[in-house]
């Protein structure tokens, strides 16, 4: 299964995503450069974390204009699975593939530590290997992760089962302390209406091996593999 990992100038989790795919097996990850105009023959796309173009204007605001993003949008509109992690989530919001925006964290400080997130829906190509309401421990590392959307959009996300992950405490409860950045409705990840485009702030690629302290992120990739296998069969 070929997965394109997009590298923008300033991406710094591209190699980590590539390694996670290699480590978990069953994937052939390939890098795509921001100036590439075509994705080529790939089965899924990963937009990694980092600071694309320095993110000096607004996170993801410049990346959406890069040539490769046209191809990514086209791929997503055709139903191809696309996951954006951290900066990748921000880019997906900026490019209109996902609703809402990621504002600076409420604390105005960069936040980097393990959070607990609850799997809210398993009806996506990225979460089918998890149990509904399973609690995962996964690192975050971001300055702009405060998910914001208007009430109508939030109601739609809630009503259509499109909230994929929420920040919770270790027991799975929605306590205020468990929300690291002030996100509306504790949102850590969402999908688009067609359910093939995922954006999430936590870093599943950093939780795929015991030596890293958690393997809870592996399910995201095994779900994707299962989904692609199903699509090919």
């Amino acid at each position: 299964m070929k997965v394109a990992v997009i590298t923008f100038p300033g991406s710094n989790c591209d190699y980590d995503c590539y390694q996670a795919l290699k480590t978990l097996g069953g994937f052939e990850p390939e890098f795509r450069w921001h100036r590439d105009e075509k994705l080529g023959d790939v089965d899924a796309v990963l937009l990694p974390g980092g600071f694309s173009y320095g993110d000096y204007l607004r996170s993801g605001a410049i990346a959406r204009f890069s040539p490769i993003m046209e191809a990514v949008v086209e791929f997503a509109r055709a139903g191809g699975p696309v996951a954006g992690i951290c900066n990748g989530f921000q880019i997906l919001c900026e490019s209109g593939l996902l609703p809402g925006a990621l504002l600076p964290n409420e604390s105005l400080l960069f936040r980097s530590y393990d959070v607990h997130i609850r799997v809210e829906t398993v009806r996506t190509p990225f979460t089918s290997a998890y149990e509904r309401h399973q609690v995962l421990r996964i690192p975050i590392a971001h300055g702009d992760g405060n998910f914001h959307a208007d009430d109508e959009t939030l109601a739609e996300l809630e009503g259509d089962d499109r909230i994929v992950f929420r920040y919770v405490d270790a027991d799975g409860s929605l306590t205020p302390e468990a929300n690291p950045n002030g996100s509306a409705h504790h949102i850590a990840g969402i999908v688009n209406a067609s359910r093939n485009v995922l954006g999430m702030m936590p870093h599943p690629e950093r939780a795929v091996e015991p030596v890293l302290g958690s393997t809870d992120g592996a399910g995201l990739f095994t779900s994707l593999r299962r989904h692609l296998e199903g699509a090919m069969a």
Binding site: P9, G10, N12, C13, Y15, D16, Q19, A20, G49, G50, F51, Y53, G54, D55, Y56, S107, L108, L109, F110, R111, S112, Y113, P139, A141, G143, H203, E205, R206, V208, E209, V211, L212, G213
Partner: protein, 773 residues
Amino acid sequence: MTDPTTSPSPVTTDGGAVIPRPRPGDPEITAEVVEAHGLSAEEYERVLGILSRTPTFTELGIFSAMWSEHCGYKNSKRLLMLLPTEAPWVIQGPGENAGVIDVGDGLALAFKIESHNHPSAVEPYQGAATGVGGILRDIFTMGARPIAVLDSLRFGDLDSGRNRYLFAGVVKGVGDYGNCVGIPNIGGEVFFDRAYDGNPLVNAMALGLMKREDLIKGEASGVGNPIMAVGARTGRDGIHGATFASEELSEDSDESSRPQVQVGDPFTEKLLLEASLELIRSGHIVGIQDMGAAGVTSSASEMAGRAGSGVELEMADVPVREEGMTPYEILLSESQERMLVAAKAGREDEVRKILAKWELEAEVIGAVTDDGYFRILEDGEVVANIPALPLTDGCPTYEREGIEGEDVKEARRRDLSPVLEPEGDLTEPFMRLMGSPNVASKRWIYDQYDTTVRTSTVVRPGSDAGVVRLRGTRRAIAATTDCNGRFCWLNPREGAKAAVAEAARNLVCSGALPTAITNNLNFGNPLKPHIYHQLREAVLGMAEACSLFETPVTGGNVSLFNETDGKAIYPTPVVGMVGILDDVDHATRAAFQVEGDSIILLGETSEEIGGSEYLYREHGEVAGEAPSVDLLAERRLQHAVLGMIQKGHIRSAHDCSEGGLAAALAESAVSGERALGVDVQLHARIAPVALFFGESTGRVILSCSADEESRVLEIARSHGVPAQLIGRVGGTASPFSIRAPRGSIEIPVETLRERYFGTLPELMAQTAAEEVR
């Protein structure tokens, strides 16, 4: 090697014959102008001797920068030569951009520490950010990909708003830069004491990994090879930063020195990192060097000096971002994110192509010559012409008189016996100690640092040392920074030994064999005899300890003149040490792991309280004798602990440092995933204040399963290490309880946990985020 006859660039062979012209508008070279450039009369005499004529204004600026303490090490070089620098595993010792050691499997580790103290005192955010940027460039110019950073910080006490502002700004600067480039922060230290009022210390350390064969040096060899400026353009920021860093600060420094502080751009750094590594692997270049302190001047002259060649540079060809910059300004600008590259002749376009891929520029600004001169042209006219070797290596070095300061002598003699009188329930002073920012958790800091990017961090900040695995091998690297400035003030020789010993102990407690160090010598004005005394004694102590632990010094940085209005910081010789874990599974943490485990104390607790955090917090004093350091006992201890870890006998290991035994037990109790109580009974009949809070060196707290208890005690005995079973790890609902013959501490572990993690956030909540930018 290029044949000079086919070289595309002009090669002057009789370099010395060229007399540079003064530029129109250049100030006349008077005694005042010389003095303003930080050169003594004697040093100026030497300049005249080297040139056999009066220097031009441009040349004077060049000498000023190169012969500043920052670049020339004139007050420290003779002492630095006393440090051990060699071992079979050292690939590159001092003198290059970074030291390099062999870590097995064909891999090499580049690492170095560097200070950005003066800029951070004036502009904490940019000062700290560019400190991280500079040290990362030192690593990737060696051909290594950065894999981790650490930061060693010192500030005045946090009851001052100014100090909170500096602290918050520095932490944000360190974080933003490293986070953006994508290098995990795996540890470091911070210490607060009034001695650092107005003079914060910001020392950044970086580690990088490479294949042995990818090692490249900062050499400009091959006559006719083009010299290229790579990366960001040159602006007017940071002019004379190196000279500024070699002066004392005054109240006026804040405003007047801002232009000497550089501005960082981590995004460009990230591009420069990728481009440089690609360039090095491409085989198109012969040498590369960061344009750090003293910019083009130091990088070009050092590259020529190392290769024994010369360079000729045309200032009109340097890409600048401001109109009308003079050669003087271009030569001394410390604009960030720039590199100087010696390319192979004829490969200029390939170099440009690689840089362009990463949206960066590369321009030919000169060529390697064979005449040994550092020659600067402006539109073809020579404006500076200096022999390169005397410029880089001819800086006069001084050995000065050193005398111990009277204030220290008096502080050492202070009678501390009343301090040791309290007995009985010492829970209250203990809790105050746990609320000291020197003891409390530093999580407020490292929650702002990306610690897990690169998916190789095994032990994150908050334990004794950070650990990163080496992907594709069983091995891992551990790193730590350590120095107790109070100990060093009271006794610089013992204090420096203690710093090396503590660093090694931290690595061992994490499962690593200590391998080598980089050092950052932060001191006051060495022209004062009591400061020179501190410097000499500290270097001697460090040399002795490094020799014994077989941890050679592979490089580092000297930061002198850390004084404000005549008041010096504590002597602070920071030790950045790296170690190797043969197996990543040996990585061990400070936190207790399992209820019911046995707690074992290794090492000797003496009745000493001198220089302790307890003395400072409870009595406002820094006095008494610094704890003594028995290096041989320390080495036995470390061998024993490493053996226990490698054989899988123990579940946690933690060294005792600030706050003493009680604080160390508390840290092990509350820093795990769940806070666990402890039930400890101590038998030593010494004063409980010393027993609980004294900072005797050479002690480690272990935990192991009850089954392993006798084996652990036996291993300790066989190494000649004092060891005693002192208690058991409790559950999440158990109290934190320590009893001794004459005193006790008892507190619910949850209360202790809140104090430990709550202190810094509470203190810093007073600093509004907008103050920080």
